[in-house]
């Protein structure tokens, strides 16, 4: 692949348009200019497709190093991390590649589309400005693959999520309901004061004369002759007689906004049968007109007419800015099988960008995703969970490009290369703009359109290895219901790092079973109730030092592992859950007593500097759920508003008290008053209140005796 590099670079550099030469991979690039036509053709392709492969390119993955995916992520924490990523980063490229089996050619036909997308603020929505985060390394990575940022920002297709659309429509509705008479009122009270200075009064008088002249002429004309008032039209083109909604009207041109206000005042004060209107003209600039009305009811009718028109215009512009979401709506409404590669994050992005804000919990998220996309297949899971495919993959890595080159060598190398007829291979042809080709050079990796194409090819080939015969597959049958695929549908990696899989249709979580031979569990089973997170310790302490430090207190077998979250924080996994509260109690008491004895305590090394904080795994989750992202975990904890140094935990078996305690804690987020009340609450709530205090005291005692013996 690397050797092909120069060609692809050249291709990218010189052809920004959609033209496809034989030398390059045929890919339909879609931007603002050709979006509408591309959408209508894509609609047909998707409707006819057996499955649709997708891929996304984002501006980043993790908003802070500690938000990276760890083995120590419980599923809810993992979801929070994915949620954070999907909310903060932007999608800048979206690859859609519908695959259709062509029984005549005995091959798949695919139409790879590469959409450049960039959300612009096209509607005058109030509130926060649209913004997104860029991870520097991701941008650099994209640059390495010659990503065209100009195409994205200059010409990317914009979009509105369903939620944004609803909000905008609601906004329009309320605007045109409220404004009925309000605007007149508010205008009056502010503007009446302006008529105090002489120039204004003179100008208003002049306008009054001119308007009554025009009105007089108009009425005369209606009664008698049909000639237009020449004297009036001459006056500098400022007053132009037009017809507005079948009524005679004056269009006002070339006045300052202050003058327009004065005219508006004059009209309202002196002319019962004239109405002042401000309407948006054809070329979106607003136009000020004075319309002749016959009666009060006629005025109402006119106002309603104008308002309805404006409302329709506003709604039209909202519809027009839906943009790329039409593609997502299409995929959702067609209920086709969606194929992605390690696509949990992709799905989260699709949800947050095109549907609405991500739900707070993974369960809610999964159930609503299943509503929008009933059938999703992840090729990475497919390759890892099936033994036949694993064999095919020869235990190589399941990264997309690797899987593609192993499973589809004939496609990866271009069909012109000698046929490696060692394995039955599914043929794939590419069609772009009605030009079919089965002959191409490889595309550029990490271009969404090409990645989607690769994903689809890998999937097609995997299906064939699983024994699905496309020749016998009737076109009406949904591939997702095929019994050989059924067990793989709607499974996604919640986290690739620890092999946790979630079933979108049931919400069940399972750990990867089959592939465990490839992924030896380095860590013993992680019990989250045994975990303490410690941060803010002296920077020179390493995992080993911390382990040693704690082992000195609780014995060499007490700590199972110490894992660096980042340079400022570690997870300490104890061998038993009750050690968590023991440790936190002990630390809490050491924080409070700053006497020489506690300085000699083995934990003192860890607490040095006075900034060391510790809490249970739940606090870690809380910190992960914050929208803030500081680079260092210790700073993050501070930014989240954690001011205490130690958060004690209740004994884990008392579930009932759990809730009440939690509430107390939520209120006491402040250290100084919190610590005290918390301890008091401990006494109130737990029966063996002395337990925690006692145990830590015991430890201290035993330590002192040991210390004494040594001396």
């Amino acid at each position: 692949m690397k050797k092909r590099w120069p060609i692809t670079i050249l291709y990218r550099a010189f052809s920004s348009s959609t033209t496809s030469t034989t030398a390059s991979f045929p890919l339909k690039h879609v931007k603002k200019s050709n979006f509408d036509s591309a959408l209508s053709s894509l609609r047909h392709h998707v409707q006819a497709a057996d499955f649709v492969a997708i891929d996304l390119e984002m501006t980043g993955i993790t908003s802070a190093p500690w938000r990276d995916s760890f083995e120590f992520d419980r599923f809810d924490v993992r979801y929070l991390k994915v949620k954070d990523s999907a909310e903060k980063f932007a999608v800048i490229q979206f690859g859609v590649s519908p695959f259709r089996w062509d029984p005549l050619k005995q091959s798949f036909i695919t139409h790879p589309h590469n959409f450049f997308i960039f959300q612009r603020q096209e509607l005058p929505l109030d509130g926060a400005a649209y913004e997104f985060l860029c991870q520097t390394t991701s941008m650099d990575f994209l640059a390495k693959y010659q990503f065209d940022f100009n195409a994205c920002i200059h010409e990317g297709v914009s979009y509105l999520s369903r939620e944004q659309e609803d909000k905008a429509l609601k906004h329009v509705n309320s605007t045109y309901e409220d404004e009925s008479l309000d605007s007149w009122h508010s205008l009056k009270e502010i503007r009446d004061t302006h008529l105090f200075n002489i120039p204004d009064i003179l100008f208003a008088e002049r306008m009054k004369d001119r308007l009554s002249e025009w009105l007089g002429g108009l009425l005369r004309n209606r009664d008698g002759g049909s000639e237009v008032q020449p004297s009036f039209n001459d006056s500098k083109q400022q007053f132009e007689t037009i017809f507005f909604k079948m009524r005679p009207a004056i269009s006002l041109n070339g006045f300052t906004s202050h003058q327009l206000l004065l005219i508006q005042l004059v009209v309202r004060k002196h002319f019962k049968d004239l109405a002042y209107l401000r309407v948006s003209g054809e070329n979106s600039c607003s136009q000020n007109v004075i319309v002749y009305i016959e009666s009060e009811s006629d005025k109402k009718m006119l106002m309603k007419e104008v308002k309805d028109e404006q409302k329709i215009d506003a709604e039209m512009s909202i519809k027009a800015s839906i943009g790329f979401r039409h593609v997502i709506d299409l995929l959702s409404s067609e209920k086709k099988l969606i194929v992605g590669h390690n696509c949990f994050l992709d799905i989260a992005h699709i949800y947050s960008k095109f549907f609405g804000p991500l739900p707070l919990t993974a369960e809610e998220f999964i159930s609503s995703v299943n509503k929008y996309f009933p059938h999703i297949i992840d090729t990475k899971i497919l390759l890892n969970s099936n033994s036949i495919l694993q064999q095919r993959m020869k235990k190589s890595s399941t990264s997309l490009s690797k899987a593609f080159s192993v499973l589809c060598p004939q496609i990866a190398l271009g069909s012109k290369s000698t046929h490696l007829a060692l394995q039955p291979s599914v043929k794939v042809e590419v069609e772009v703009d009605d030009i079919r080709s089965s002959n191409w050079n490889s595309g550029v990796k990490h271009e969404a359109g090409y990645d989607a194409f690769m994903t689809g090819c890998v999937f097609a080939q995997a299906c064939s290895h699983l024994g699905i015969d496309f020749k016998q597959q009737s076109s009406s049958e949904n591939l997702a219901h095929n019994e050989k695929l059924r067990e793989h549908v709607n499974l996604l990696y919640l986290s690739w790092t620890n092999g946790e899989i979630i079933n979108l249709s049931t919400g069940n979580r399972t750990s990867e079973s089959l592939a465990s031979n490839k992924r030896k569990n380095h860590y013993p089973k992680i019990l989250f109730e045994c975990i303490v997170i410690v941060w803010g310790f002296p920077s020179h302490l390493k995992a080993w030092d911390i382990r040693e430090c704690i082992s000195k207190v609780y014995g060499p077998t007490s700590v199972i592992s110490v894992y660096h979250v980042d340079e400022t924080a570690v997870f300490v996994q104890f061998s038993r859950a009750e050690m968590v509260s023991k440790f936190l109690d002990l630390k809490g008491s050491l924080d409070r007593n700053n006497d020489p004895i506690s300085v000699l305590h083995p934990l003192a090394k860890l607490l040095e500097g006075g900034n060391t904080c510790a809490a249970s795994y739940e606090t870690y989750k809380e910190i992960c759920s914050s929208t803030v992202s500081k680079v260092l975990f210790a700073d993050q904890a501070k930014a989240v508003g954690i001011k205490w140094k130690t958060k004690l935990v209740e004994s884990s078996d008392k579930t009932k008290e759990h809730e009440s305690l939690r509430k107390v804690k939520a209120v006491n987020s402040d250290p100084s008053c919190g610590e005290r009340t918390k301890n008091k609450n401990f006494d109130d709530v737990s029966n063996d209140s002395s337990y925690s205090q006692l145990s830590s005291d015991e430890i201290i005692d035993s330590f002192y005796t040991r210390e004494a013996k040594q001396i």
């Binding site: 932007a90 603020q121 520097t136 100009n150 508010s186 020179h540």
Partner: protein
């Protein structure tokens, strides 16, 4: 754009030595990216040292996310700084234009450069910034000006701040030559353990040195050489043999260094820093002669120099400006210098005073053209430089000739960074109007300095006409300026959304007797308004009423509907504790909630009240 038959302005420029350019679009501004950065440095350095002033102008990826995040007239310098700090920490500088210039009577001689920056993680250490925020409207606006994002991201110059550079030095673990500061002269009493340690190391070093200098080695077989290397712990440092001595403490470092002095004729000690700070090991490098020893030292110096240059990137330019100590001219100095401080010096300090002190160390004189403008008279709503120049042109006769001496610009693409030249032009005009330009060039710099001094280092001034938002929301406020004490300001929220200030005022007017006196209402964003009381003390009465059970009548009705009120100190707390919610109402609610459970609440309010009573903000008339 230029027809083929017409000689392009660039071509003409390359033939004359000097050009006077009046059309901003033809200003030859040298565009600098990674590719031509190093070769331009010396030229820039010369221009900086020969200039009177240096104008700067930044193009960032965003400024404020929500309407209320914008610095506004109701901000004190402190809250204004906190807002600017929040923006500077999140957004990124994509273009940094600098323009060293000279003022000669009515002529400005300018040397503009526009640097394209991108915070590339060259060292794979998450620096200079792990991530940054972009506002789509900013990017779209840049796209409209024809900005090339590919050039910026592929070819932008990276940088590290001073603070980052020092952490990087430690983390890279490059050997450092021992300077005399690290050698402690005092030799503490040696314990037995120390003596044992020293003797052991000494014998190892001696052994190794003898083995290396032993000429027989050269004849040995390769296998033997490598075996010997393993046994003796010797390694190569460049072309010279070296040996690493592991140490466990800083004391051992001192001991080893002291011991190595005995071999100072041929051995050069280097310190290998540990990743987390401190020292990991001491490395002794064997040199063949005194001459070789000097050579090694020089090599180390150039290596460090080159490395630093690579690491600093664009900051080299900032360092040049800082070293020149020239006055710096900016248009929106608070915004620009919070960015400069956070990207190129160090993380921003928590308050304005510390910021000013820290900044002054690097840039002693910063002049904001907006501040100069204030001396001219009431220039309203001048956030735009071009509009300001046009305004001055209409009102004053102060022709300024822009001379931009030839800088062959190989880059025939779009020229960006016009603003910096406009700032020079505006500054020139202002100086001539305010008569602070020396009439002749010969007149000493001192005169200029003293005249300029009056205007320097004012980042946020109270009669802040320049900071005044141009949004429509403040229409209806007349232009008389009046200072309002923060004490008389109350924040109100919890009313129906999209209410207008006028309606809200009407609603309040009849609701309680405090509103019988003159007061004014202004919307901060859609969720929150500020009420300014004309008569001192009424704000407190109002706040007390809001919090008491006696609240009655229409006001009670409004409170039942969710109306809430808080004083200015709550707003300050919102800013200082970083509650940058998108709606100010949410932020104020959060601040109140977190405040209620603080035990030292009473103490804190008292403090801020004292602070507040001296604090004046500028608000339009009531």
């Amino acid at each position: 754009m230029v027809p083929k038959f017409k000689p392009s302005p660039l071509r003409i420029r390359s033939f004359c030595t000097k050009t006077v350019q009046q059309n901003p679009h033809h200003w030859p501004i040298k565009q600098i990216t990674k590719t031509n950065f190093n070769e331009s440095l010396s030229e820039i350095k010369n221009h900086i040292s020969s200039s009177d002033f240096i104008a700067v102008s930044l193009q960032n990826t965003g400024s404020f996310s929500s309407p209320w995040h914008r610095v506004s007239t109701f901000d004190t310098p402190e809250t204004a700084y906190l807002k600017a700090k929040f923006a500077a920490e999140r957004f990124q500088i994509l273009q940094f234009a600098i323009c060293p210039f000279k003022l000669q009577a009515s002529k400005v001689i300018a040397y503009p450069y526009n640097f394209h920056l991108f915070p590339r993680d060259e060292l794979k250490m998450g620096m200079p910034s792990y991530s940054f925020t972009c506002q789509t409207s900013y990017l779209t606006a840049m796209a409209k000006e024809g900005f090339d994002f590919n050039t910026c991201i592929y070819d932008g110059i990276s940088y590290l701040s001073e603070a980052q550079e020092s952490t990087v030095k430690v983390r890279m673990g490059n050997p450092m030559a021992v300077d005399h500061a690290t050698k402690s002269s005092s030799s503490p009493a040696l314990s037995v353990a120390d003596t044992v340690f020293i003797e052991r190391v000494r014998s190892r070093v001696k052994h190794w040195k003898n083995a290396c200098t032993d000429s027989d080695i050269k004849t040995e077989a390769a296998l033997v050489t490598s075996l010997r290397k393993i046994v003796l712990g010797g390694e190569q440092f460049g072309s010279r043999p070296s040996m690493t001595i592991d140490v466990c403490s800083e004391r051992q470092v001192q001991l080893v260094l002291k011991m190595l002095e005995d071999f100072s004729d041929v051995l050069v000690p280097l310190i290998i820093p540990a990743k987390g700070g401190g020292t990991q090991a001491v490395r002794a490098v064997l040199t063949s002669s005194d001459e070789d020893k000097h050579l090694l030292k020089r090599e180390l110096q150039t290596f460090e120099f080159e490395q630093n240059k690579r690491v600093r990137g664009f900051r080299e330019v900032i360092d040049l400006i800082s070293a020149s100590q020239k006055p710096i001219v900016a248009h929106n100095s608070l915004n620009d210098f919070t960015f400069i401080h956070s990207k190129f010096l160090a993380p921003l300090p928590p308050n304005m005073n510390e910021f000013i002190c820290s900044l002054r160390l690097a840039f002693p004189q910063v002049i904001d053209v907006n501040y100069l403008l204030k001396d001219i008279g009431p220039v309203k709503k001048m956030t735009n430089i071009s509009a300001t120049i046009a305004y001055l042109k209409n009102r004053f006769f102060a022709p300024i000739e822009m001379e931009i001496p030839n800088q062959a610009n190989e880059n025939e693409g779009k020229i960006h960074g016009h603003n910096v030249v406009k700032i020079c032009q505006l500054f020139g005009k202002l100086c001539s109007i305010l008569k602070i330009t020396p009439d002749a060039i010969e007149s000493s710099d001192d005169f200029l300095a003293s005249a300029i001094n009056r205007y320097a280092n004012i980042f946020y001034s109270l009669p802040g006409s320049s900071q005044e938002p141009t949004n429509e929301e403040i229409r209806g406020w007349t232009n008389d300026k009046r200072k309002v004490s923060c004490e008389d300001v109350v924040f109100l929220w919890g009313f129906r959304e999209r209410i207008s200030a006028g309606i809200l005022k009407n609603m309040l007017q009849g609701s309680h007797e405090v509103f019988a006196e003159a007061f004014n209402v202004r919307m901060v964003d859609r969720s929150c308004a500020i009420v300014v009381f004309g008569k001192p003390g009424l704000s407190n009465t109002f706040k007390n009423v809001m919090n008491s059970k006696e609240v009655s009548g229409p006001l009670r009705e409004m409170v039942s509907d969710g109306l809430k009120a808080a004083g200015y100190e709550t707003y300050q707390r919102v800013c200082s504790s970083g509650l940058w919610e998108s709606a100010l109402a949410d932020a104020l609610d959060k601040a109140l909630a977190s405040h209620n459970c603080l035990s030292e609440a009473a103490y804190e309010t008292k403090q801020s009240e004292i602070y507040l009573s001296n604090e004046l903000i500028n608000l339009a008339e009531l």
